[in-house]
């Protein structure tokens, strides 16, 4: 296997002078051309992990430990200048709400041209020509006209396509997608997911995709990592996690989806309790207070990652008991 494009080792990110541990010891490897999804609920640390890869968390208020290597380069050691040259050219990001993530007083075309000319010495006309190609590539209809539109003049799906075009403008190797479909209508979500998967295959992109929607994760990702309270609690192929989840939290997430036709009057199963306070984490497994299988040792020590099989690992000492809890799901195609 060639060297991975991303390698994160024991990443710890804390805010508020170290009091709030948003990310607490994450390891992640991403192969070239691979797509992984980071899933978890709000506050699980998935977006913070993603932003750490480009050092986009507010520098003054953030404390970062561990190591992050992207394309062979140590991200945490970069100077401001190196970081600016690295962002957009090697790694780029798609945001959750493109209406907020694009500058409202510049046209989308101007913003793409700006990104290209920031990293490459090309004329304005040549950059615009490339922006036009990108718009065709992400299948925006009447691309010439749309290039001159301001973000608020586009529909939600169109804006996200424009955002993807912007992210791809300088042919990055790694694409980070921060809940790219959360703000969109269900029908548009599918189109965007299919577009991302197609682009990934055609351009050989590596993608890290953050979402709280397992369905979206399965569409795009080869591998899924489940995060809870700043730690990765389970990882495996999309197939492993859907068919045979082994961490009680993953099982809870799967059960709490409105899957297929939910009979009228049937109760949606929810995980009891609320995520822990990140400033005051329990000493053992952080999911133990909400876990139906928790036993004394769970509360005492932090559980290690247990290999369930070659491609699947869970941070749980009760994976065998959890197997009996797993929902009986028909394959989702």
């Amino acid at each position: 296997m060639t060297t991975p494009i991303v390698s994160i080792r024991n990443l710890k990110v804390a805010f508020a002078g170290g009091a709030v541990r948003a990310v607490d010891g994450v390891d992640l490897d991403l192969g070239r051309g691979e797509a992984v999804a980071l899933i978890g609920e709000s506050g699980s640390g998935k977006s913070v992990t993603l932003r750490s890869l480009m050092r986009l968390n507010p520098e003054r208020r953030t404390r970062v430990e561990g190591s992050i290597t992207v394309d062979g380069r140590d991200v945490l050691a970069m100077s401001a200048r190196e970081l600016a040259d690295f962002r957009g050219a090697v790694v780029s990001m798609i945001f959750q709400e493109p209406l907020l993530a694009l500058d409202p007083v510049y046209t989308v075309g101007q913003q793409i041209v700006e990104a290209i000319r920031r990293h490459e010495r090309v004329s304005r006309a040549a950059a615009r020509e490339r922006a036009l190609d990108l718009f065709r590539r992400v299948r925006i209809p009447s691309p010439e006209r749309r290039l001159d539109a301001y973000p608020h003049e586009l529909s939600g799906g169109m804006r996200q396509r424009a955002m993807i075009a912007l992210a791809l403008a300088c042919r990055p190797k790694l694409l980070l997608a921060d809940e790219p479909t959360t703000a969109l209508d269900a029908t548009v979500q599918i189109q965007i997911l299919l577009l991302l998967r197609e682009l990934q295959r055609d351009l050989g992109l590596s993608i890290i995709f953050v979402t709280h929607d397992i369905g979206a994760a399965v569409e795009v990702a080869d591998r899924i990592l489940v995060m809870y309270a700043g730690r990765i609690v389970e990882e495996g192929t999309a197939r492993d996690l859907i068919r045979a989840p082994r961490h009680p939290y993953t099982i809870g997430l799967l059960k709490s989806r409105a899957h297929g036709a939910l009979a009228k009057g049937a109760r949606l199963e929810a995980i009891p309790g609320a995520p822990p306070d990140l400033a005051n984490l329990p000493p053992g497994c952080s999911f133990a207070p909400r876990c139906p299988l928790a036993i004394e040792p769970c509360r005492a020590d932090r559980p290690p990652l247990v290999a369930v099989k070659e491609s699947q690992r869970a941070r749980c000492i009760r994976t065998e008991a959890a197997a009996t809890l797993a929902p009986q799901l028909e394959p989702t195609g």
Binding site: F86, R87, F95, A101, D103, V105, L166, A169, C170
Partner: protein, 323 residues
């Protein structure tokens, strides 16, 4: 619709909107002066004038007609550029007012330019380095600018730079008094002290506005988006300026409007022959035509400035409806 055609139609619509405003302004101007107590002829009549003479003069100036007729005649003449004759000096009001407006405009534009430059500078630095020492200093300066009494500041500056140091003249508009203006040092040096005094007001307000704007813009998600595509602080600065410009310019335009009309105290302190000085004289002499004419012209300028600000904002901010 093409961008040009839509811009033209906006222009036409905005200009149409100003017509009822102008009419309202004219009514208020006219009414204000007639509601105020006192006899308009008191300053030209000798105290022992006969009743007949008083009646005759009232008829000559038209003060004996019904208000509605007086207003109609006054408005018609005003539209044709004739603002009547000053009771105190016997000269045409229009000429007096426009000479004064020229002086005030020069002063107000210079003061606004100084105030806007430093206000925007302080505001930017304060908003960028929020809660730092620089921010606190800039905030203190802007509070000082908004709250210090300007006539007092003017007098202090005169004492320091004119009386003690003797660098600049204390009062007046130049060697030739109020009649001849030229863009040379002999005249410009007369402008420095009043302009600096006056600039403190817009400086404080612009600084506070820009600080709040910059802080708000920097907290927006798109700034993270700009960093994510590799922009450095300098590149982001351009975006912040373009986002802040419409609001900052609007505030500047309004400040210029206030300075045009609201500089009575400063013009009096510096004996600057502008509209404030003229208004002051007109009020004390009960010179109704002069007072009406001056207020009307100032109000017209204010409406015109608002119109310009409105159009500029529409041109600069794509989010404002253009259809």
């Amino acid at each position: 619709m093409s961008a040009n055609a839509s811009m033209l139609s906006i222009l036409a619509r905005r200009i149409t909107y100003t017509i009822p405003i102008l009419l309202g302004v004219a009514i208020v101007c006219f009414a204000l002066v007639h509601i105020a107590p006192g006899d308009p002829l008191v300053s030209v009549l000798p105290p022992d004038a006969s009743a007949d003479l008083q009646k005759m003069l009232l008829a000559v100036y038209g003060f004996d007609r019904p208000y509605i007729e007086q207003f109609g005649r006054w408005l018609w003449r005003a539209v044709n550029g004739d603002l009547g004759t000053s009771i105190a000096t016997g000269r045409p009001v229009a000429a007096e007012v426009f000479k004064a407006v020229g002086n005030t405009l020069r002063l107000a534009v210079l003061a606004t330019a100084i105030g806007f430059f430093f206000g925007a500078l302080f505001g930017f630095v304060a908003g960028y380095y929020r809660d730092s020492f620089v921010d606190k200093l800039a905030s203190a300066l802007s509070v000082f600018g908004v709250s210090v009494p300007h006539y007092w500041l003017g007098m202090v500056l005169v004492i320091i730079f004119a009386a003690e140091l003797g660098w600049l003249p204390p009062t007046g508009a130049g060697p030739g008094g109020s009649t001849d203006w030229a863009w040379d040092w002999a005249h410009l040096r007369h402008m420095i002290l009043p302009a600096v005094t006056m600039s403190v007001i817009p400086m404080g307000i612009v600084a506070r506005t820009v600080r709040a704007l910059v802080a708000e813009i920097l907290a927006q998600e798109f700034v993270v988006g700009l960093r994510a595509k590799g922009l450095t602080d300098r590149g982001i600065f351009r975006h912040v300026v373009k986002n802040a410009a419409p609001t900052a310019l609007a505030v500047m335009g309004l400040q210029l409007g206030y300075l045009l009309g609201g500089s009575i105290l400063i013009e009096t302190v510096f004996s600057w022959p502008g509209t404030g000085f003229l208004l002051n004289a007109a009020i004390f002499q009960r010179d109704l035509p002069l007072l009406q004419g001056t207020i009307l012209v100032l109000a017209l300028f204010f409406v015109l400035l608002n119109l310009i600000v409105d159009i500029l904002q529409t041109a600069l901010d794509p989010r404002i409806e253009r259809g």
